[in-house]
């Protein structure tokens, strides 16, 4: 046990305690938390800084409005309803197409009636999915159509790309591929694949599913390792720009690639998980330390920060 402890330390693996005490506490001022924890505020902030994000189609803030959902949804064939303050992808309802009047196709071949949706929305409003159970807002967002080029490694659901930004500099990235086991969700806890991405090239390094190394997608048997992500430089550039919108020192940016709109910022996370280290077969510690050796990277422009990050990655983070 003690040997493993030392081994992990040597590899610079970041634990939850260290992440919270050494990076989140000193670098993430609490006043910015509402901006990332509330997806509506976050989206607004991103818009002001002209960072592309999925379109907000509507907002429901009271049970009264929930009763009038039918009017809001009348013209929509496809949409996503999610809690503004949800965590871990909980409480997301997806309608992928209209089945008949007031009935939509849901995920997993389910049919969604208007009553189902109203019930879900009132649950969101009552704070069922929010942190701490406070009253919440439900948001209607446009549905993301995942870029066909990603379909090769993610046949189902919405794969996303997570970039860890430390003091504005991208330090680590991975892509999360939904599987049938994760029921279409890009959540590693629920069985999605996490594949580490080389920062300099945008190529997947290795893939992990439920803490096990995998090469093939379990649903399609396609190789997910060594895959070149499309639009990689744009993705990184957008991620770096997020720091201007919300200057949190340590955060995770979740991006998706839409078929029509290109790379979009799905959400930002002030407490990004640590599984990304397993997917990259590398600890975050050394990379974060390398950034700390830079001279106040916060003052640089997003392009400069991106270049710094790539240069550090090229130099193997000064090791």
């Amino acid at each position: 046990m003690i040997r493993r402890y030392r081994e992990l330390k040597k590899r610079g693996v970041l634990g939850l305690n260290a992440r919270n005490a050494c990076y989140i506490m000193p670098h993430n001022p609490r006043r910015y938390y509402p901006l990332v924890d509330n997806k509506v505020l976050c989206k607004r902030r991103l818009q002001e800084n002209s960072v592309a994000a999925p379109e907000l189609l509507g907002e429901i803030t009271s049970q009264y409005e929930a009763g009038h959902l039918s009017r809001k949804l009348a013209e929509l064939d496809e949409f996503v309803i999610k809690p503004a303050s949800g965590a871990g992808g909980d409480g997301i309802l997806v309608a992928t197409g209209r089945y008949e009047d007031r009935v939509w196709h849901g995920s997993g071949g389910r049919l969604l009636s208007l009553a189902d949706i109203e019930y879900h929305v009132s649950g969101i409003l009552a704070g069922m999915y929010s942190l701490g159970g406070q009253v919440d807002t439900a948001m209607i967002e446009s549905l993301i159509h995942t870029d066909q080029r990603l379909r090769e490694i993610a046949p189902e659901g919405v794969p996303d790309i997570r970039v860890i930004l430390y003091r504005g500099i991208p330090v680590m990235a991975m892509t999360r591929l939904p599987t049938r086991r994760s029921s279409g969700k890009a959540n590693l806890h629920q069985g999605a694949i996490g594949a580490g991405v080389e920062l300099t090239s945008g190529r997947t390094l290795r893939a992990v599913m439920s803490s096990r190394l995998v090469d093939l997608h379990p649903d399609t048997r396609c190789n997910v390792v060594g895959f070149q992500l499309p639009d990689w430089t744009t993705l990184l550039a957008i991620a770096a720009r997020c720091y201007e919108a919300i200057p949190l020192g340590y955060m995770g940016i979740d991006l998706v690639i839409d078929q029509d709109h290109g790379p979009l910022v799905l959400e930002m996370n002030a407490r990004p998980g640590l599984a990304i280290q397993i997917a990259n077969d590398d600890g975050l510690g050394h990379r974060l330390a390398a950034v700390d050796r830079l001279d106040s990277p916060e003052t640089l422009s997003s392009e400069q920060r991106l270049d710094k990050g790539l240069a550090l990655a090229e130099a193997n983070w000064g090791r």
């Binding site: 046990m1 493993r4 402890y5 081994e7 992990l8 330390k9 040597k10 590899r11 693996v13 634990g15 939850l16 305690n17 260290a18 919270n20 005490a21 050494c22 049970q63 871990g88 909980d90 409480g91 009553a115 019930y119 009132s122 649950g123 009552a126 704070g127 069922m128 999915y129 806890h189 629920q190 992990v208 803490s211 190394l213 640590l274 280290q277 397993i278 077969d281 590398d282 600890g283």
Partner: protein
Amino acid sequence: MTRLIHWLALALALITVGLGIAVYKHRVLGYPLHSENIESTWTVQARMQITPGSGPIKATLKLPTTTPGMGQLRENFISRGYGLTVQDAATTREAVWTVRRATQRQSLYYQGVFYRDAINQRFLPRPTFPEVPSLEEPFQTAMLATVEEVRRQSADIASFTTSLLGRINSSAPTEEMALFLNSPDYRGQRVRIARVILAGARIPSVQVNGFHLADASRTQPVRWLAVHNQREWLFFDPATGQMGMPENFLVWWVGEDPPIDVDGATLVDLIWSIRRNELAALDLAEQRSAIHAGWLAPFSLFRLPVQAQSVYAVLMLVPVGAFIMILMRNVVGLPSFGTFMPVLIALAFRETGLFAGLLMFTIVVAVGLSLRFYLAKLHLLLVPRLTAVLIIVVFLMVLLSLASHSLGWEVGLSVGLFPMVILAMIIERMSIVWEERGPSDALKESMGSALIAALAFLVMTLPLIQHLAFVFPELMLVVLGLTILMGRYSGYRLNELIRFRVLARSSP
């Protein structure tokens, strides 16, 4: 860096202060580490029987004041119809009973309760050198000769006294000593002989009168000899010449005068009796701290009314449970519902016992959860649904209590104090986790909660912990200090060693 120092200093200061006070209370004031500790106290009673004369009566009794190694718990005076005054002086204390006219034989009582108190070493102040007494011949010559002889054979005041007492007690006394021993003034008065000769050597000494504390219905004071060697008082047993005050010796008064003086009446009898009582060490410690550490007294939880005491006895355990919670979550990495829910469950276990508590927790949560899934199908709003779950929980608990009662299993009855709101919240939270992340996460979190609660319960019900938390509330500062220390623990959690095992193995 300054923040780091600040943090460390604060935590260490809290721990040191807390531990310091606790150690002081234990070592010096005698607060016991176990609740069962018992110490002895002694009730010494002086009973005076007097037959009144024709005029007013005044009876004076010397009371203990300077009692090295002993403390006084309380005292009582019983004297019907007499006026009582207690005269306090620096080294003497007297009770004076007075009455203008008394007609029949009467008893006056004094009772003092004494306990061992090692801190109290107060005795008489430093005396002056006595003058060499002038006695009539042949005593004067005998005294000077004895002084001369003993001085030759001794090194210091202690050995002088021992040697002198040896001569007095010798079966074949010297000629000079025999003179003293056979004279009517000194016969049987070893202490007086010793004091005269000590004065001849200009060594200050006093006669000490007191009791060996042991059960006795009728006893007499014992005379001891105290000699001052210019640094401290030394005590000698005049019968053996041994130095040192024995344990459980209570000094009552000092000097050669009798302890009682009666004016205007005849003292028929003076009876001393001693009775040993047992008292919880805790009560005695409280007494000692009231005398020696008055600043501590306001912080004692024993000052609260008994009802409040029992509340605080539980409340003081919450920090302990919460600290275990910290260890389980930040060092081991067990998942749990909410931050303090396991501690609250552990408190609830106190009412039911661990096994019954866990069983009820499981039954109530399992049944409540399945009913909640049924309710979910009805599409109820959140708050009414939560309330429905709560009502179901109450029903379940009533049913459990009734069932266990009819089975003659009385534990079930105390379930009523189980915090049902917490149970209802757990059921609701669990059902959401169940729906959103699947049963494995929900079971993991609830097992984690139950495990932490069980652990916290086991620690919180240790008699030692309960006793320490209540008697030494300052230990809470230690828990706070440790908590602050844990607040910056940035090492791995135990479960992370497993989670990141892939990274440890594939080390380059």
